[in-house]
Symmetry: C2
């Protein structure tokens, strides 16, 4: 039944105004009253379990989603059935906007772990975007950030070798956790090695080998999905980044 799907959850913050993520999420730049209006159109459903789809490539584009807790991956399917992961999405991140005006979702979103999301129906978002300039700007900022991320990935996939890719990946995840108030050096990867390899355009075995090489060189320490960055400076060098350099990729969130 429809009502139970959208029923608020025990323990979860049911409103943007009181959500601990509102400084990172879509309401980022909204006034109190604007935030209320956004909050009014948001639907909060029951959690989706690991492996379940939030939306599927080719189905009607109806809503965008903000991740509240958990993590997802989004991927596109080639005609031969191969999938390419285009992004991993942590709490506060908005997904689905890439399907804007495409009619159908251009990619699939699958939960990497138990995940809760805030659903924002497109139709009402459209109307609100016309009435709230700050919201429009935030939506366009989110899309701009996404474009910069994807173009950064194009550079990675086109020009970087395996070690550079893995270093870039670990630092990206590290920074995103840090921005959310977690440790930048000690975290748990929500995705499998296979997912990482797919995302980085490498074979699983290559990911494994680079991880062990990094461990031997005392750059990182791994215990399954648990990661400790022991020498971030060298990782930055390897990634071909300066700390300052890639800050600009995340401006929408800061």
């Amino acid at each position: 039944m429809k009502t139970s799907v959208n029923a608020p959850l025990r323990g979860a913050q049911p409103h943007c105004q009181t959500c601990s993520l509102n400084a990172l999420c879509l309401p980022l730049s909204l006034t109190e009253s604007d935030m209320e209006r956004l909050d009014d159109i948001i639907r909060r459903g029951r959690p989706i379990q690991k492996g379940q789809l939030l939306f599927q490539q080719g189905t009607e584009f109806q809503s965008v989603f903000a991740v509240r807790t958990g993590a997802l991956k989004t991927y596109t399917l080639a005609s031969n059935g191969e999938e390419q992961i285009t992004g991993f999405h942590l709490a506060s991140e908005l997904i689905g906007l890439s399907g804007y005006n495409a009619g159908t979702y251009p990619l699939t979103a699958k939960a990497l772990e138990t995940t809760t999301v805030c659903e924002i129906p497109l139709q009402q978002l459209e109307q609100l975007a016309d009435e709230l300039p700050d919201l429009r700007r935030q939506l366009m900022t989110t899309m701009g950030t996404e474009i910069r991320h994807d173009q950064n990935m194009m550079l990675l996939l086109s020009k970087k070798n395996a070690e550079e890719r893995v270093a870039s990946f670990l630092l990206d995840i590290s920074q995103r956790y840090q921005r959310r108030g977690f440790s930048a050096t000690h975290f748990r990867l929500p995705m499998s090695r296979v997912d990482i390899s797919n995302y980085l355009g490498l074979a699983v075995e290559t990911i494994s080998r680079v991880f062990t090489r990094f461990q031997k060189n005392e750059l990182i320490e791994t215990q399954g999905k648990e990661i400790i960055l022991k020498d971030s400076d060298t990782l930055y060098d390897l990634a071909g980044l300066t700390r300052a350099n890639d800050e600009c990729l995340h401006q929408a969130e800061s």
Copy 2:
């Protein structure tokens, strides 16, 4: 002097309302009166010559641009100085939006040939986007299309081999010319082999070899930058595409 730079050109259409590209370009979905308002804020400068920069990565983000005639490439610079071409841009296409709210341009735009553009100052575009819902939608549509393009490139760079990449590239260009009323099978590539190789994440030599292989198999015919597609069907197969399949990537333009 500033005025001469923005002076209208001999022979060029100085207004969106009479521009032959307005059905493909930003004004696509605007009413007559809205188009006039957009037209009012657009600056039309003198042509930029081959090799000249339209804007440069790291400089202040001030305007977005619509290509009127000619072609450009946009590329990002890695910290080691390597460049990755992120896109080629033909007449009617909007460039620069990826810098939205980033403060500075995240990439550089360089003319591949003599090119004229319509400059749209950000500040006035922002205001207009708040007042004209259709314009806001068109801007977001453009960004959505860009995201889908980039994610398609991620798939190409991550999963496709050299032949598949070149086939995909040729068909993409072909479709874009066709949409502009030119032949889908007989066209001139505005970019060099080096640019193509950079864009596709391959060595120049590989591009050359694939081109000659395609010629031996009678899939294409090349004469320098002139290209004739002789067997589009096989190219589609090679690219791992069906004609229907990748239509959705261009919805913003159709």
